[in-house]
């Protein structure tokens, strides 16, 4: 019988470092422009709902901004796009169709977890909070 072709590789792999990584402890190397989570910058958003209309996964829902936030004048209807990241397919159609380039893109991808994760906190952080009376 001939010597198996893969024998050399197998022996080399016995002593070498594993190719896999211990994922949650060790981060995966990703590109800086990887399509990660995106959220609207509410200082630019006009609440036009175009991203919500164009979203192929119906992941974006136009939601009223809570009363305690000061909203810029360009957004008279006080609406902002709330992205449900569990539904989002990360196609970035919303980012590309936004008429005022309001979307902020990140390369964050490790969002799986036991709770529902939306863009609520990320988006509202871009606004100045007004103290309630």
């Amino acid at each position: 019988m001939k010597r198996p072709k893969l024998l050399e590789t197998v022996l080399r792999n016995l002593v070498s470092k594993p190719a896999t990584i211990q994922y949650p402890r060790e981060k995966t190397t990703i590109e800086p422009d990887f399509r990660g989570i995106q959220y609207a910058d509410l200082s630019k958003c006009t609440g036009c709902s175009l991203c919500s209309i164009e979203c192929p996964a119906d992941a974006i829902k136009m939601t009223p901004i809570p009363q305690e936030y000061a909203v810029p004048k360009i957004n008279p209807r006080r609406l902002y796009p709330l992205i449900n990241y569990g539904k989002c397919v990360y196609c970035y159609r919303c980012v590309k169709v936004c008429p005022v380039n309001a979307y902020i893109v990140t390369s964050k991808y490790d969002i799986a977890g036991p709770t529902r994760y939306t863009s609520e906190d990320l988006s509202l952080k871009t606004l100045k909070e007004v103290k309630s009376q």
Binding site: K2, L6, E31, D33, P56, V89, Y90, C91, K96
Partner: protein
């Protein structure tokens, strides 16, 4: 007490045994059921049962706008998402009469060829696993990761590219990215050459694959096989060469055919195509044209679609994929989107191939066809009140659901 009056024992021979293979991953982790009727070890008849993964994508396309559908058809199949999107987008471009520039066409081809490389590597790895050679499976999958990285650099995601848009592509590449992808392809080339040698010389693989699931030229054409299963039987069918869509008229490549027609030949055709695709990728990266911006502004794309219809085809990894898109000119949604995937031809027509081989060969033959169940499902209507089943024929489906 033993009854001494019995003088004869009559044995009734069992003519065939029915062995269900699937629907929980028969070869790949995809739901298809092969009802195998075996006489001892020998397969005498196979029924291909599908219908476990029907999602109604064609109907979904009619309910969504033209632009939303680009991302919906990408999700027909994870592994061939760029080709699905490309085929659909080219149909829209035909209706709108838009032509992307040359740089966009080259980038489209690059993304599709990267996809072909990783898809063919995946099925070859799965084949190694099916024949019980898990070490080779792990090795190939490790090298496949490099291609996924190249795809991530080019498109922004490892699997779902979402790279095609009407009039171009959705992101451009710069010189740094170009060098990175080039480096990956150059690193990959010797590895693929090595795997070709393993598939040519390793005894485990040769014993399981050679002369298993043979199709001759006549059967391959009469059963309308497409893609690597047809090309492994000597049928020179490749819509990249015959249709010359996108930039395939400018990029040199060879159509790989073999004459053996067995499972081994199908796998070797795939490896040779990987080599061709690597060469094409390197050619694209060194000859990328500089004729303007390939990324159209998605806010300024035409909103109104004129009435018209378009029929496009691409050579997906598994064979020829065709799209028929119809616009009635009134609504924002397509009137009809008809998808015909290569796996539909290759799997539904494949029942005759298994006959005469042993039961252990069934997964090998199925894997050698590269089944992609998620894109080939068709409708079966079950009337719950009468308890009848009715399969809607292809003719009726193509007539837009008219009875």
């Amino acid at each position: 007490m033993y009854d001494m009056s019995v003088t004869k024992i009559v044995e009734i021979p069992v003519v065939t045994t029915e062995v269900p293979i699937g629907p929980q991953h028969p070869a790949l982790h995809e739901p298809v059921m092969l009802k195998v009727y075996a006489d001892g070890e020998e397969v005498v008849r196979v029924d291909v049962n599908t219908g476990y993964n029907h999602r109604g994508i064609e109907k979904l396309c009619e309910k969504n706008t033209f632009y939303r559908d680009i991302f919906i058809v990408s999700r027909v199949c994870g592994i061939c998402n760029a080709v699905h999107a490309n085929c659909y987008v080219r149909a829209l471009e035909q209706i709108l009469d838009v032509t992307p520039n040359r740089r966009a066409k080259f980038l489209r081809v690059l993304s599709m060829e990267l996809e072909r490389i990783h898809s063919h590597m995946l099925i070859n790895a799965v084949m190694a696993e099916i024949v019980g050679f898990e070490t080779l499976f792990m090795q190939i999958m490790l090298d496949r990761e490099k291609v996924m990285k190249a795809k991530e650099i080019l498109t922004g995601n490892r699997v779902s590219a979402d790279f095609m848009i009407v009039g171009g592509v959705r992101r451009d590449i710069d010189d740094v990215k170009k060098e990175k992808i080039k480096e990956i392809l150059l690193k990959l080339k010797p590895r693929v050459e090595y795997y070709v040698k393993v598939f040519e010389e390793d005894e485990t693989i040769l014993k399981r694959l050679i002369d298993v699931g043979k199709i001759n030229y006549r059967d391959a054409t009469s059963h309308s096989f497409v893609g690597p299963p047809a090309r492994a039987s000597g049928v020179r069918i490749d819509s990249r060469a015959s249709d010359k869509y996108d930039a395939y008229d400018e990029i040199p490549f060879n159509v790989v055919t073999r004459n053996e027609g067995d499972s081994w030949a199908r796998m070797m055709v795939r490896w040779s195509e990987v080599m061709e695709s690597i060469e094409m990728g390197l050619y694209i990266l060194s000859n990328l044209p500089l004729d303007g911006n390939p990324v159209p502004d998605e806010r300024r794309l035409p909103r109104k679609f004129p009435p018209g219809e378009a029929f496009t085809r691409v050579e997906a990894q598994r064979g020829e994929l065709t799209y028929y898109v119809m616009s009635d000119g009134k609504s924002q949604n397509p009137y009809r989107v008809k998808i015909r995937t290569p796996s539909f031809n290759n799997i539904v027509n494949s029942a005759f191939m298994y006959v005469g081989y042993s039961l252990a060969d069934v997964p090998v033959i199925l894997t050698s066809l590269d089944p992609c169940i998620s894109c080939m499902e068709r409708v079966t209507v079950i009337d719950l009140e009468k308890g009848t089943r009715e399969r809607i024929p292809f003719k009726q489906l193509s007539s837009g659901g008219k009875r």
